[in-house]
């Protein structure tokens, strides 16, 4: 239905392009007047005016229609004698009514449900009809309006400019609002979580075992239950595990990435560079899940074997394997970004160093790297935030046990992995266990936000120096 409407709107408005163009052309000839814009702009003007209002209306309508119908139906059901104790029950009844209407309902039918389903069908019909009528009305109105403007030889080029500017603005607004929406949803769910679990218990607790939280309703939690939950959501093992694995990853990625960046920027001939840079960047294109099973199936067992030879017990899921593979995954980020910043150190600085008799490596060590340092630090911080946010490799290679350990041979876990664990499968949405995922998400978000902020500041500071 909606698709057909959209299709019709687009067909109709695009055909108006040709009408607008030829109409203004003939207008110019017959009336012997100078047009205020090229004929095609009148075409564009018509297209934009006839499609955008109708499409926007359709969008808004589709957003609000279900909400309005739902409240009406729940109202009518209540009037017929249905009793709802809370919102959930009302929702359930509404879903039942919908199912009856669609013919997929299999439960018991009573008179209330039957009546409501009929009412539902009636309202759906009314809404659909009035939608079509309103849309046609809007199209006719906007077409008449724009045609009248065209006949008066409006400044169509400027008007199109204004409309397009508006479109671009709305696009960026959507991006911003989405971000805001995500942050708010994280925030609200987290607030619910922190209303049950004290924020200090969360931030400084050293024990993470969310499966203990079987409390269904967070609002009616008893003191005893709370005492039990109090030490189930300790954030420390997760942040420690995350930091530890990220640290191991950086231990691999920073030296290898930085040195390969230096080689690419300073030593590699054009031919080598042209070949090897894309190859390194392919590393960044490998899906992380592929790294994941490489870590879990090849590297993990390999470490265990090597460990056994040295008489060490290595867990088959170890922080070491996850960190190593994650480090390899991150190499291209560090390498490519530091290559770029090293490349943008002006040649004149190198010349200045050579001119006092410094060798190439002295120049790199004492002039180029210090000059590029803020940028390099920025690239490393971006890589760290990448490492912290990485999930798949850790799920597959580092295990799920929230151990508070700094032994790289034991299994450990990270924030992202725990979020996955919590949300996989059927969940009660108002249990603290589920809500804890939002709290974790929020914490992670804040951590990476701070890192990105610092990184961008560092990169910016570096740019200012030479531009």
């Amino acid at each position: 239905m909606n698709l057909v409407l959209i299709f019709l709107i687009i067909i109709f408005s695009s055909s108006l392009f040709f009408y607008g163009r030829s109409k203004t052309k003939s207008l110019a000839i017959s009336g012997n007047i100078k047009l205020n814009a090229l004929p095609k702009f009148y075409g564009y003007y018509l297209v934009l005016w006839c499609s955008i209002p109708a499409l926007v209306f359709l969008l808004i309508w589709s957003l609000f229609e279900p909400v309005i119908i739902k409240s009406i139906i729940i109202d009518t059901a209540a009037k017929q004698g249905a009793i709802f104790n809370d919102k959930n029950e009302a929702n359930l009844v509404y879903e039942k009514i919908k199912a009856i209407h669609l013919g997929t309902y299999v439960g018991e039918l009573d008179s209330i449900l039957k009546e409501s389903a009929l009412a539902y069908a009636k309202f759906i019909n009314i809404f659909a009809n009035s939608k079509v009528v309103l849309i046609f009305g809007i199209i006719i109105a906007s077409t008449l309006y724009s045609l009248k403007k065209i006949k008066n030889n409006n400044k169509a080029r400027d008007d199109v400019e204004v409309i397009l500017k508006g479109l671009l603005f709305v696009s960026s607004l959507i991006a911003i609002l989405t971000t805001l929406g995500i942050i708010l949803s994280l925030l609200f769910e987290s607030i619910k979580f922190f209303s049950v679990i004290n924020i200090f218990d969360y931030l400084f607790g050293t024990n993470w075992s969310p499966q203990r939280a079987f409390v269904r309703d967070a609002s009616s939690i008893t003191l005893a239950e709370y005492q039990d939950l109090k030490d189930a959501f300790g954030f420390v093992p997760l942040i420690a595990g995350t930091g530890f694995i990220a640290f191991l990853a950086m231990l691999v990625a920073v030296p290898v990435g930085l040195f390969s960046g230096i080689y690419m920027a300073e030593y590699a001939s054009l031919r080598v560079r042209r070949f090897s840079k894309p190859v390194i960047e392919i590393l960044a294109g490998i899906p992380t899940v592929v790294y994941g099973f490489f870590a879990a199936l090849t590297v993990g067992p390999f470490f265990r074997q090597v460990g056994e030879n040295f008489g060490l017990t290595v867990s088959s899921e170890s922080a070491l394997a996850a960190g190593l593979i994650m480090g390899i995954m991150i190499i291209p980020y560090v390498s490519s970004l530091s290559d770029d910043v090293i490349n943008s150190v002006p040649q004149s600085l190198r010349d200045g160093s050579y001119a006092v008799g410094a060798t190439k490596s002295e120049t790199i060590k004492k002039v180029v790297i210090p000059a590029a340092l803020p940028g390099i630090i920025g690239s490393i911080l971006l890589a760290v935030s990448r490492a912290i946010g990485e999930t798949m490799i850790v799920v597959m290679a580092a295990g799920l046990a929230a151990n508070l350990t700094i032994n790289p041979l034991e299994s450990t876990t990270t924030i992202t992995t725990q979020i996955v664990m919590i949300l996989v499968g059927d969940q009660e949405f108002d249990s603290p266990k589920t809500q804890s995922a939002f709290a974790l998400g929020l914490t992670l978000f804040i951590a990476t936000l701070i890192l990105n902020f610092i990184a961008q500041r560092a990169v910016k500071k570096y740019r200012e120096k030479y531009d």
């Binding site: 004149s348 600085l349 200045g352 050579y354 001119a355 006092v356 008799g357 060798t359 002039v367």
Partner: protein
């Protein structure tokens, strides 16, 4: 007439397929300022970059022929480029101080070459270099500030001080004043006049007036060829070559 310090014989330079210098034969005298003039792209900068082998940095650049300093061949494959550049300093068109403190900008060269083992020796080198480049009075209280915080003219004098710091015999200057205002230019010219007592100086310039003011000898390049060379006075008053005459009177270039 001072003795010849640098001597080029049939010097040719190619950038890839393109030839930038054609059989240049030019003698530069010790403790004198030689100015190289000519229109853009005529090869004057390429020539001075041959003297300290800065062209090595450019991959596609190939230098053939001879260039000698005190009778020692510069283009010799076995020559230690690092010690050559220690003897032949260079100042560039755009001031290029390192993004380090003023002090570190000067101490960089001496440290690399193992001069000035103790802090006080290094302090002395820094102070002397800055004094010689007439910058000491302006920066002595703020040696820890970044070199990039100085004004353009000061930065260029800092770069001259950096070149002096390793105590070279020759200083090459590639249009050192082209990015500076007249006042800063005047200061640099004064400084060049002073420096020639100690160093052999080669300066590339687009300003005819500057060549007249600072140099004793002038060479005119055109399209990669050395057209005429002689005493500055003669070149500017009574050149032998018609092209030189046209260039200095501003008829082309």
């Amino acid at each position: 007439m001072n003795k010849v310090k640098i001597k080029s014989k049939n010097l040719n330079v190619h950038y890839g397929q393109k030839q930038a210098l054609f059989d240049v034969n030019l003698d530069l005298n010790e403790k004198e300022v030689t100015a190289l003039i000519g229109p853009s792209g005529c090869g004057k900068s390429t020539f001075i970059r041959c003297i300290n082998r800065m062209n090595d940095v450019i991959d596609i650049c190939k230098v053939t022929g001879n260039i000698e300093i005190d009778g020692v061949e510069v283009n010799d494959k076995n020559l230690d480029v690092v010690s050559l550049r220690e003897r032949v300093g260079m100042v560039f068109q755009k001031p290029n101080p390192f993004p380090k403190s003023i002090y570190e900008n000067i101490s960089y060269g001496p440290k690399i070459h193992g001069k000035g083992d103790t802090k006080s020796e290094l302090d002395e080198i820094v102070e002397n270099s800055l004094k010689k480049s007439a910058l000491w009075e302006e920066v002595k209280d703020r040696l820890d500030e970044p070199g990039t915080s100085l004004s353009g003219g000061q930065q260029q004098r800092l770069c001259i001080a950096r070149a002096i710091s390793v105590n070279p015999e020759v200083i090459l200057m590639d249009e050192p004043c082209s990015a500076l205002d007249p006042i800063a230019t005047a200061k640099i010219e004064e400084l060049i006049d002073d420096l020639k007592k100690t160093y052999t100086i080669v300066i590339v310039t687009h300003s005819m007036a500057q060549a007249v003011r600072v140099s004793q000898k002038t060479g005119f390049f055109h399209l990669g060829k050395l057209i005429e060379v002689g005493k500055t006075e003669k070149i500017f008053k009574n050149p032998d070559n018609k092209m030189t005459q046209d260039y200095i009177t501003g008829r082309f270039g």
